[in-house]
């Protein structure tokens, strides 16, 4: 069930730069960042599908904004 399959991921320089920066800041490998992104996307998509909302809140500025996810 946990057998891994390999794929090639083509990224632009900018995208690769973002991936490398995220990997550095999160203390993860680039593969782990992509895996985390997929997990999070699925979780968000499932919860939105149940009718929940994704909201960013800035307590200091007392602002809330709903995030629309594709």
């Amino acid at each position: 069930m946990n057998e891994k399959r390999t794929m090639t991921l083509n990224l632009t320089d900018v995208e690769m730069g973002v991936l490398e920066e995220l990997a550095r800041r999160k203390d993860l490998s680039k593969t782990a960042v992509i895996r985390q992104a997929l997990r999070l996307y699925q979780t968000v998509d499932m919860r939105l599908g149940r009718g929940e909302k994704l909201i960013f809140e800035d307590e200091a500025e007392k602002k809330k904004s709903e995030v629309m996810v594709l």
């Binding site: 069930m1 946990n2 800041r25 999160k26 203390d27 993860l28 490998s29 782990a32 985390q36 997929l38 997990r39 999070l40 699925q42 979780t43 499932m46």
Partner: protein, 210 residues
């Protein structure tokens, strides 16, 4: 699903007993666990009432229902772990690996394994007020240790986080060496704990046991 050998302690004679740690608990397992645990919970509840024990002193997971958590396991970020001994599930734990990040100052915003639910079987609860000594101890430690190991496997360096029920706060603080972050008003004001990579390494090296 995979399994590996672990040990738990039989309270009656302090004997070390072989058990099996399961990685990959399935939704159907949660249904089975609940079917077996429900009548035991009911017996405990009846004894607590008969002994006039105040509800505030009842085990705080007494009304949990694992069968209602089956949907949690559909997510990629979800992990399910359990301990089997004597042919029975002695404890179970559900984790999430993407939707929570570290709050500990030295680890802020780094990924961690969040322990969503963890519980030992009701026959393992020592409840002095009704003369229950509990069958096995060490099940909770085995599961928390596995959360740290899962964190290491995921590349999270042993970082874990969890909200503790009040009756379990001392266990996470004193036994597991987790750091208290603070009460969370968004989670029934439960105390939130985290484990740093250093604390995880220490707990794992010591073979932490409850």
């Amino acid at each position: 699903m995979s399994s590996s050998p672990v040990v738990v302690i039989r309270r009656a004679d302090n004997a070390v007993v072989q058990a099996e740690l399961i990685d990959g608990v399935q939704p159907r397992d949660l249904g089975l666990i609940e079917r077996v645990w429900t009548p035991v919970r009911a017996q405990i509840l009846a004894k607590l009432r008969a002994a006039s024990v105040a509800p505030v002193d009842w085990p705080q997971s007494l009304r949990w229902d694992w069968s209602r958590k089956e949907g949690e396991l559909k997510l990629l970020e979800a992990g399910g772990f359990g301990v089997i001994c004597d042919g029975d599930w002695q404890g179970v734990m559900l984790t999430k690996s993407a939707s929570h990040v570290a709050l500990l100052a030295s680890q802020r915003s780094k990924p961690l394994v969040y322990v969503d639910y963890v519980e030992t079987a009701p026959w393992n609860w020592p409840i002095a007020a009704i003369g229950e000594q509990g069958r096995y101890r060490g099940v909770g430690s085995v599961l928390i240790r596995e959360a740290m190991n899962e964190s290491i496997r995921q590349g999270f360096k042993g970082r874990i986080g969890l909200h503790a029920l009040p009756q379990a706060e001392r266990f996470y603080d004193s036994v597991c060496g987790l750091t208290e972050i603070g009460r969370d008003p968004n989670k029934q004001n439960l105390l939130y704990f985290e484990c740093s990579p250093e604390a995880a390494e220490k707990f794992l090296d010591e073979g932490g046991e409850s």
